[in-house]
C-alpha cells in the first residue's frame, strides 16, 4: 500500500498529470480517427519521447491505450464502422441506438462503463501483477523459454480465421528478429553495416501499422463521404442507469481475464459479453434495434481487457495485443525489461504507472463526457490530410532515430509488406510479437543450455516448463484435430460467431 501511495505521489506531479491528460486526449482522438489505432500512435510517438523521462512517457502511453479503447466506441456508434477490432460488437447496438436518436445515451453508457470497468480492472491489475511477478521471478530460463514458446503459439493460433496466415506472420516476424550481429556473426545483414545492430523495431512497427495502413487505404479510398449521426451532450436517464450497471460489471468480468491471457485482447470478451446481455436482458425485443445493454457490456469488456493485458506485460514481459507489444518496445527503449525483475529493479516507476492508470481513467470520464460533440467533429477531417499526415509523422519518426535515409527506405519496404499483409489477410500481431520475442527465445535457450553445460534435458527439467509443454501439446493437438475434421482453411466453429458479429456491424442483416 505504501508503494502504491508513493506511486500516486509520483503520478500526481504536475508534469505527469499533464502527460496523463495528453495521453488520454491523444488516445481518444486516435481511437476516433479512422485509420489510426492506439498501437500505431504509440509507435509514432516512440522516437519523440526519447528525451522525456521514462515514467512520463509510459504514463502517457498507458493513457493512450485506455483512451483508444474508449475512442473506438464513438466511431462505432456514430459511423457504424468500428475503427478498432475491440469495438466491432459495440457497433451492432450502438449505431442502432444512434439512428433511433439515442446517440447521447449510447456514448454515455460507453464512457461511464469504460470508467467503471477500467477502474475495477486496474484494481485487479494492482492486486495481481506483483504476485504474478513474485511467482515468475523464481522461474529459470527453461521455464521462461517454454512460456515464450506458448505465448508465440497462442498469439498466432487463437485469433484470426486462418491459422496458416497466423504462422506466416509469426515466421516473417522471427526472420526480421534474426537480422543483426547478436551472435557475433552477421546474420541476414546483406553486408550492410547499418543492419549490424538489427532492424529497429520502431521502424518495423511504424511501417507495418502506419505506412501499410496508408497504402492500403489509398488502394481502396472511399470516395463518397460517410454518414455521420450528429450528437449532443451525452447523458442517461434513471432507466438507462438501471439497465447499464449490471452489463458493466459482467463485461468487466469477461474482459479482464481474457485480456490477461494471450488470447488476442478484446475481441472474444466483447462478443461473449454481447451474447450474454442478449440472453439475460429483460428487453430481448430491443436487441437488433438498439438495446443499451448491448453497448454497456462490450464497452466495459474492452476497457477491462486493456487493464488485464497489462498483467502479463508487466509481470512476465509478454505482450498479448499489438498495443501492449508497442508499450513493451517503449520500456525496452528506456533500457527497462518488463518482467518479474521490473518490480524489484524499477519499483517506483511501475507503481507510478499503476497509480496513473486510475488518474487516466478518471480524466477519461471527466474530459470525454463534455467533449463528445467535439470528437464527433474529428470524423470530418479531410481524408487526404489525414493520411498525408500519417505518412508525414511516420517518416519523421523513423528518420529522427538515426537521421539515415536508409531507415526511410526500410520504412517503405516494410510498409509495402504491411500493404501485402492487409491484402492477403495476414494478421499483424504475430509478426510484431515475433520480432520482439524471437531474439528473447534464442537468448533464453542459450542461457538454459549454458547453465546445464549443453545438456538438452534441462529444458524440461522444471515443473512449470513441463506444464507449459503439456498446454502447448494440447493446443497443437486441438489444431491437428480441427484440421483433420474439416477443410483446414475454413474457420473453426468458435470463430464463426465473431465473423457473424462483424458482418452484422457492416449492416449485412442479422
Amino acid at each position: 500500500m505504501d508503494l502504491f501511495l508513493d506511486g500516486l505521489a509520483t503520478a500526481a506531479t504536475p508534469t505527469n498529470l499533464f502527460f496523463a491528460a495528453l495521453g488520454v486526449l491523444l488516445g481518444t482522438a486516435v481511437g476516433v480517427l479512422p485509420g489510426i489505432g492506439p498501437a500505431m500512435s504509440i509507435a509514432l510517438l516512440l522516437p519523440i519521447t526519447f528525451s522525456v523521462a521514462p515514467e512520463s512517457a509510459i504514463i502517457m502511453f498507458a493513457g493512450i491505450y485506455y483512451g483508444g479503447m474508449y475512442g473506438g466506441s464513438t466511431t462505432s456508434i456514430l459511423l457504424n464502422t468500428p475503427g478498432e477490432s475491440s469495438s466491432v460488437v459495440t457497433a451492432i447496438e450502438g449505431n442502432k441506438m444512434a439512428k433511433a436518436g439515442r446517440a447521447a445515451q449510447a456514448l454515455a453508457t460507453a464512457a461511464i462503463g469504460s470508467f467503471v470497468a477500467g477502474t475495477i480492472g486496474t484494481v485487479l491489475l494492482v492486486l495481481l501483477a506483483p504476485n504474478v511477478a513474485d511467482l515468475v521471478v523464481k522461474l529459470g530460463s527453461p521455464s521462461y523459454f517454454a512460456i515464450l514458446l506458448l505465448a508465440l503459439l497462442a498469439v498466432t493460433t487463437v485469433l484470426g480465421s486462418s491459422k496458416l496466415r497466423g504462422f506466416v506472420a509469426l515466421f516473417l516476424g522471427l526472420t526480421i528478429g534474426l537480422v543483426g550481429t547478436t551472435t557475433g556473426q552477421a546474420r541476414l545483414t546483406f553486408d550492410q553495416p547499418l543492419l549490424a545492430d538489427g532492424i529497429d523495431i520502431v521502424v518495423v512497427a511504424v511501417a507495418i501499422f502506419a505506412i501499410g495502413e496508408a497504402l492500403w487505404v489509398a488502394a481502396h479510398l472511399r470516395r463518397k463521404p460517410l454518414e455521420i449521426i450528429p450528437v449532443g451532450q451525452p447523458w442517461m436517464s434513471r432507466a438507462d442507469w438501471g439497465r447499464s450497471w449490471k452489463p458493466w460489471l459482467r463485461g468487466t468480468a469477461f474482459g479482464f481475464p481474457f485480456g490477461a491471457l494471450p488470447a488476442g485482447g478484446a475481441e472474444v470478451p466483447t462478443f461473449l459479453s454481447y451474447i450474454t446481455e442478449r440472453r439475460l436482458s429483460k428487453h430481448p425485443e430491443e436487441f437488433g434495434k438498439g438495446a443499451i445493454e448491448g453497448v454497456a457490456g462490450p464497452e466495459a469488456a474492452n476497457n477491462a481487457s486493456a487493464a488485464g493485458t497489462l498483467v502479463p506485460l508487466l509481470a512476465i514481459g509478454l505482450p498479448t495485443t499489438a498495443t501492449a507489444a508497442i508499450i513493451l518496445v517503449a520500456f525496452q527503449s528506456y533500457g527497462l525489461q518488463p518482467g518479474p525483475q521490473l518490480f524489484t529493479n524499477s519499483g517506483p516507476l511501475v507503481w507510478a504507472l499503476l497509480a496513473s492508470l486510475f488518474i487516466a481513467n478518471t480524466l477519461l470520464l471527466v474530459l470525454n463526457l463534455p467533449m463528445a460533440p467535439l470528437w464527433a467533429k474529428l470524423l470530418q477531417i479531410p481524408r487526404p490530410y489525414l493520411y498525408a499526415g500519417i505518412l508525414f509523422f511516420a517518416s519523421l519518426g523513423a528518420y529522427s532515430v538515426n537521421f539515415q535515409a536508409f531507415d526511410l527506405a526500410l520504412l517503405l519496404a516494410f510498409g509495402l509488406l504491411g500493404l501485402a499483409m492487409r491484402r492477403f489477410a495476414i494478421p499483424v500481431l504475430p509478426l510484431i510479437v515475433g520480432v520482439i520475442l524471437g531474439p528473447r527465445l534464442e537468448q533464453n535457450l542459450s542461457e538454459a543450455l549454458e547453465i546445464s553445460g549443453g545438456d538438452v534435458s534441462t529444458l524440461w527439467g522444471e515443473p512449470v516448463a513441463i506444464v507449459v509443454y503439456v498446454i502447448i501439446a494440447l493446443i497443437l493437438g486441438a489444431l491437428a484435430v480441427g484440421a483433420l475434421r474439416k477443410d483446414p482453411e475454413t474457420p473453426a466453429p468458435d470463430e464463426r460467431p465473431l465473423a457473424r458479429a462483424g458482418s452484422n456491424s457492416n449492416g449485412l442483416g442479422e
Partner: protein
C-alpha cells in the same frame, strides 16, 4: 489488427472456387525469403566455444518453416482459399483496387528518401505532405504546401529546441 469479418465479396462455399492468383505471389515471396534465410545460415561459421546455441540453429528452423509455409499457402490458394481483406472506416472494398494511387504515393515517398539528405527534412517533409495529399485527391496545392511547410518547419524547430534533437537541416543549414 485484423478482424475476423466476412466481406460480401468473399462469402465461402456455394460458388465454384475462384483462385486468387495474386496469392501465389505471396507464397513465392515466402519461399524466396525462406530460401535466402537458409542460404545465409549455411554461410555462418560454427559458434565460439562459449556459445551453446549455434548461430545457424534458429535461421535453419525459421528458413525451413518459411519455405514450408510458402508451399502450404500455394496449395491452399490452388484449392480455392481466398483472403478476407481487411476493412476499415475509410475503406471501400467494393470498388476494386486502385493501384495507381498506391504507386504514386510510393513514388512521393521514394522522392522523399532520395532528396532528404540533400534538401533536409524542412523541405522534403513539406513536399511529402503536399504530394501525398494531392495523390489522395486534394486539389488545393498551394494550401497543401503551406500546411506541409508549417508542419515540417514546425516539427524541425520542435525537435531542435523542444526535444534537443537536431535534425540535419540539409540545404537550409544556417538559414533555419
Amino acid at each position: 489488427m485484423t478482424t475476423a469479418q466476412d466481406t460480401p465479396t468473399t462469402t465461402p462455399s456455394a460458388r465454384p472456387p475462384l483462385v486468387d492468383k495474386a496469392q501465389y505471389g505471396m507464397a513465392a515471396f515466402l519461399v524466396v525469403v525462406g530460401a535466402y534465410v537458409l542460404l545465409d545460415a549455411i554461410s555462418l561459421d560454427d559458434a565460439f566455444a562459449d556459445q551453446t546455441v549455434q548461430p545457424y540453429a534458429f535461421p535453419y528452423v525459421v528458413g525451413a518453416v518459411l519455405v514450408l509455409l510458402g508451399f502450404l499457402l500455394a496449395v491452399a490458394t490452388a484449392r480455392g482459399d481466398r483472403p478476407e481483406a481487411e476493412e476499415g472506416e475509410d475503406i471501400d472494398l467494393g470498388a476494386g483496387t486502385d493501384w495507381r494511387t498506391v504507386g504514386l504515393l510510393a513514388g512521393v515517398f521514394v522522392l522523399n528518401i532520395a532528396l532528404i539528405d540533400l534538401l533536409g527534412w524542412a523541405i522534403t517533409g513539406a513536399l511529402l505532405f503536399a504530394g501525398a495529399a494531392y495523390v489522395l485527391g486534394s486539389r488545393t496545392p498551394v494550401r497543401d504546401l503551406a500546411i506541409g511547410a508549417a508542419l515540417s518547419v514546425g516539427t524541425w524547430y520542435g525537435f531542435y529546441s523542444g526535444l534537443g534533437i537536431p535534425i540535419p537541416a540539409g540545404i537550409l543549414d544556417g538559414v533555419l
